[in-house]
Amino acid sequence: MEAQAVEQPAATPARSRALAATRSPTHSHAGAGRAVSLLLRVASLALFFAVWWGVSLLNAHVIKFFNPVLLPSPAEVLATGIKMAASGELLRHIVASLSRVLWGFGIAAALGVIAGTALGRSRLLEHLVEPTIEMLRPIPPLAFLPMMVLWFGIGEASKVAFIAYAAFFPVFTTTVEGIKYVDPVLVRAAASLGASDRQIFWHVILPAATPNILTGLRLAFGLSFFVIVAAEFIAADSGLGFLINDARTFFLVSNMLLGAAVIGIIGVVANVGLRRLESWLLRWRRESRGRA
């Protein structure tokens, strides 16, 4: 189910089922449809790299539109990557960025879930805290980055704090929603089976809010990567953001593209991993997804 959803992100499950039903009475038809869509997907990527490669070769050797230094070919970027990987420099930057993201995200996840749960449970607390959160939330976290550097210095603390701040909001908001809107009939059912308030919280409210909380965590993880690059532009001597910004100073366009590509690859891998984890944790939802 999950694999299918990844392959056909545009189709809702209900629609894709309907399509599958009208399109193919037999399995071989469905298989053929899947093969075509896979082929198109591969072609999309192949076309992207072909155009990139073509433009950069054409510009370097046939018609010179702009300085060839500005657009290295995919092969040059790959070569730079191999060289930097061999020297261990690439790994150092990846580890630096990842560890900041994990720390910042971890802090945001813990605080977001705890604060979100507390607010979702208590109306008084919600009235007390929510206006402030709603005031801060629309301000792009980047607006606070220079301040974070002033407050926490140019070391690791400012970057971790910055990521934690940015990632806190999605976790917090989705947790509050999840806790607040637990189906009251489930709470009644548990109470009539003899559960205490405490047991209702652990065995009903928290599991019922889990899908929401997981969505918030996945959004927050993506956001952490989003902001770490900016943080590393400003004050850092390591990390993928630093790699890109440092390369700019020396006009090493291959290094800049390499940094961006590595961030993209990490993002895709992390997202696939988190979605797998989510669909495993929420395996009870699997069958109901297509139903009305």
Binding site: D183, S192, L193, A195, V204, A208, W284, R285, R286, E287
Partner: protein, 252 residues
């Protein structure tokens, strides 16, 4: 011996208007009572007060001689919307009560299998609610309520969302289970035929405010034949009572 006793119970949700007015009722132990009436007559309100989900504005509800102050394991509830925990399998749903009572794991498993086979769901232990049909979900919900050994079983239009065929099968199953495992059952419905098929006593409710219009004792033995003359005559009699109430609402 009285199992459930309502003493002049009134409920008002908004000041100045009563959803339920001075209802007094006694239900014998192990009796099967249907609360029947059109929507808005307060039958669900009454059930929710016996369950302890809502408090009466005035009057009191006694179950087994003691006043109801909140929900409790002595009163099992089956809801129209099933209210299964979607993240727990059928067996884990049935095990919820035993888990709350901290019974050993082996005993919980045994209880779950026993009650799931009682409701005809042996072999479906590991399925999640999302993999079950409406009728199967309601069977799990009934098993979950029974596995907790309540003395009272409260059912709020439990078969209202099921198709006609499934509904009749479930009614027969419920009677079979009730005859095996006697409880005081309070069953809310707006289906006249359902109430005659199931109940010893039918409490026909009046609307605006909700009060008891008439209590009809069903003199028929089980199993009941829906097409028998006695059944049809009773159906006609009760239909007349309910019609008057619906007419009062100005819907017809």
């Amino acid at each position: 011996m009285t199992s459930i006793r309502l003493e002049a119970v009134s409920k008002s949700y908004t000041p100045g208007s009563l959803a339920l007015e001075a209802v007094s009722l006694e239900l014998a132990e192990n009796s099967f009572t249907c609360l029947l009436g059109p929507s808005g007559c307060g039958k669900s309100t009454l059930l929710n007060m016996i369950a302890g989900f809502i408090e009466p504005t005035t009057g009191c509800v006694l179950v087994g001689g003691s006043e109801v102050t909140g929900a409790g394991a002595d009163r099992g509830v089956v809801f129209q919307e099933y209210a299964l925990f979607p993240w727990r399998t059928a067996a884990e749903n049935v095990e919820f009560g035993p888990m709350i009572r901290r019974l050993p794991r082996a005993e919980r498993h045994a209880t779950a299998s026993r009650y799931l086979s009682l409701v005809g769901l042996a072999g479906h232990e590991g399925k999640y609610p999302s993999e079950l049909s409406g009728g199967m979900k309601q069977r799990v919900a009934i098993a979950r309520a029974l596995a907790n050994h309540p003395s009272v079983l409260l059912m709020d239009e439990p078969f209202g969302a099921l198709d006609a065929q499934t509904r009749e099968v479930m009614q027969e199953e419920l009677l079979r289970i009730w005859q095996q495992d006697k409880k005081t059952v309070v069953f809310v419905t707006h289906s006249i035929s359902e109430s005659i098929f199931l109940a010893d006593r039918i409490v026909v409710m009046a609307t605006r405010p909700g009060t008891i219009k008439e209590i009809v004792d069903v003199p028929l033995g089980h199993p009941r034949e829906r097409s028998s003359p006695e059944f049809v005559a009773l159906e006609r009699e009760i239909k007349q009572l309910v019609r008057e109430e619906v007419a009062k609402l100005g819907i017809m």
